[in-house]
Amino acid sequence: MSLDKEKIKHVAKLARISVDEAKVDSLTKDLNSIFKFIEQLNELNTEKVEPLTSILNQSLRSRKDEISDGKIREKILKNSPKENEEFFVVPKVVE
């Protein structure tokens, strides 16, 4: 299958990336050549194959449901691009 410009704009919307209109053509070309390459997989019959879900022959450990750290609000907020003492700040979302 091939990806058209509209589809790519839709996927970009899903990924929350604004795409420059001027770049849509070259992006469409690149993505189509990548998908053509990827679609070699269709040569293989995988009907009876179980998908790989883990490469480790062990199941994931569980840990005790306990707080192992905390009281580090300042550290967490330190890298925030815009802060207001105790919170992360985003553009207004409620009118």
Binding site: V11, R16, I17, L27, F37, P51, V90
Partner: protein, 485 residues
């Protein structure tokens, strides 16, 4: 005094231990080299003052019973370092200062070493030539205008140019082994789960592994021993006894069975790569190993599988960069959604955006089965190829890359031709098994070429031993002229 910085890590450690050089003088020697190598653009951040302070502390109160006593080390800028800017080669993290240290670097420091600086890399480790970094191309010391490989290109360049005695990188599809091959150095991707992923900027979580990049196999064993180990904080970390790779290193490989996979002889492979492979086979045979022809029939599907699995995981991992909690935030955008879109558009480079879009698409409703599920099934077949082979053999020998280092700009216009560079390295990541690349020869232009040794899960010692034997017998010497200083 002879230049200490062109010696191996092991030799340097011996000199520190026997007090032939102090940690301070050693650190000063590297700082001098780094300052005269700005042309290579290997560093994003340097931490000289802090390094000199640590060196002084070591000299005042030395502990020579550590694996890395008083050794300054530069690391890839994908490892979070406490209170030191960590960018992952991206504009979106241009102001990110972690308040924590990655487990792997913490392990290195607790073995006596300290940070010299943070090394350039492809943005979020996505690239094979270090041309996607927001902080500019890195130059391969082997030749002006040559790429150092990627994504750990700053690491390979700095190591080959004597700007650090050893280093670490990360390998998702070849990002340690391919740059090692391009610069005439040794690089090892450990078994998935051997080194903790905690505190490493995530790219594709089921493939990412940190590993050492060094001048010699012995150095590689020392570094692997220093950085690996179980970590509670990584849910996929393997809980096992620590190995003494350097102490157990031996070059007797008599009787080992080495698999030679026919699928690694690809069309249009340069003659020199084939000759290098033959040379490797001959060395092993002469040392008493047994060569066995094997087949890994799904090899050609590894790259297409990788370009579904890796972008899918990346699109999910990179969703966290939203301009809210850390990192870059666009000044544009009227509402929340627009702020996200502008932040991510301005913060990410083209290759990263491309992969996020591929990943978002293959995971999107209606396409998941056709792409992602299909890829996970083929991944199972690729893993099975290796599992079946390892019932008959001890290790596999292949070339590391289909070519030597190429020129900057040579492959940037066609993403697929760039991806093909990882054709020999990617299958190993999909199967979660260890592999190392070691330099074993040069091509017509004198550029280094690497051989790859693949082992079964947790068999690092064996591939290190085989690598040690090849290293001693292949007559490779990295003769880099310091044209940049």
């Amino acid at each position: 005094m002879a230049d200490i910085t062109n010696q191996s890590l092991n030799e340097i450690i011996e000199k520190v231990k026997t007090k032939k050089i102090s940690s301070t003088d050693l650190t000063k020697a590297y700082i001098k080299n780094i300052e005269s190598a700005k042309k290579l653009n290997a560093f994003i951040t340097t931490t000289f003052d802090q390094a000199l302070e640590k060196a002084k502390q070591f000299d005042n109160k030395p502990n020579f019973n550590q694996l890395l006593p008083g050794i300054p080390l530069a690391v890839k800028d994908l490892f979070c370092t406490e209170n030191i800017k960590t960018t992952a080669g991206s504009n979106i993290l241009n102001n990110f200062i972690p308040s924590y240290e990655s487990t792997v670097t913490k392990n290195l420091w607790s073995n006596g070493s300290f940070l010299l600086g943070k090394l350039n890399c492809d943005e979020f480790a996505m690239g094979s030539s270090n041309e996607t970094s927001h902080y500019g191309n890195v130059i391969n010391p082997v030749g002006d205008q040559l790429v150092p490989g990627g994504s750990s290109g700053g690491s390979s360049s700095a190591l080959a140019a004597d700007l650090t005695p050893a280093t670490i990188g990360t390998d998702t599809g070849g990002s340690i082994r391919q740059p090692a091959s391009f610069t005439g150095t040794v690089g090892l991707k450990p078994t998935y789960g051997l080194c903790s992923r905690w505190g490493i900027v995530a790219f594709a979580s089921s493939l990412d592994q940190a590993g050492p990049m060094t001048k010699t196999i012995k150095d590689c064993a020392i570094m692997l021993e220093s950085m690996s180990g179980f970590d509670e904080k990584d849910s996929t970390s393997i809980n096992k006894k620590k190995e003494q790779y350097s102490k157990n290193l031996k070059d007797n490989i008599k009787g080992l069975k080495i698999g030679i996979p026919k699928e690694y002889r690809v069309d249009n492979m340069p003659k020199e790569i084939d000759e290098l492979w033959e040379k490797g086979k001959k060395i092993l045979k002469d040392l008493g190993a047994q060569l066995i022809d094997i087949s890994l029939p799904h090899t050609k599907y590894a790259l297409p599988t990788y370009y579904i699995v890796a972008p899918a995981e990346a699109s999910s991992n990179l969703a966290r960069y939203d301009g809210v909690r850390y990192g870059y935030r666009s000044k544009q955008g009227k509402d929340l959604i627009e702020m996200y879109e502008k932040t991510r558009s301005e913060g990410f480079g083209d290759e990263v955006k491309r992969r996020i879009l591929i990943g978002t698409y293959v995971l999107s409703s209606g396409y998941y089965d056709a792409y992602y599920l299909k890829a996970q099934k083929v991944r199972q077949l690729i893993k099975k190829d290796f599992d079946d082979s390892f019932t008959k053999i001890d290790a596999i020998l292949t070339p590391s890359t289909p070519s030597s280092a190429f020129k900057i700009g040579e492959k940037t216009s066609d993403p697929v031709s760039m991806y093909l560079n990882d054709i020999f390295t990617v299958p190993v990541n999909l199967a979660g098994i260890p592999a190392l690349s070691l330099p074993a020869g040069v091509d017509e232009q004198g550029y280094p070429l690497g051989l790859q040794l693949i082992g079964k899960a947790l068999d690092e010692q064996k591939i290190l031993n085989i690598g040690y034997a090849i290293e001693k017998n292949c007559g490779f010497k990295n003769e880099i002229k310091k044209w940049w200083s």
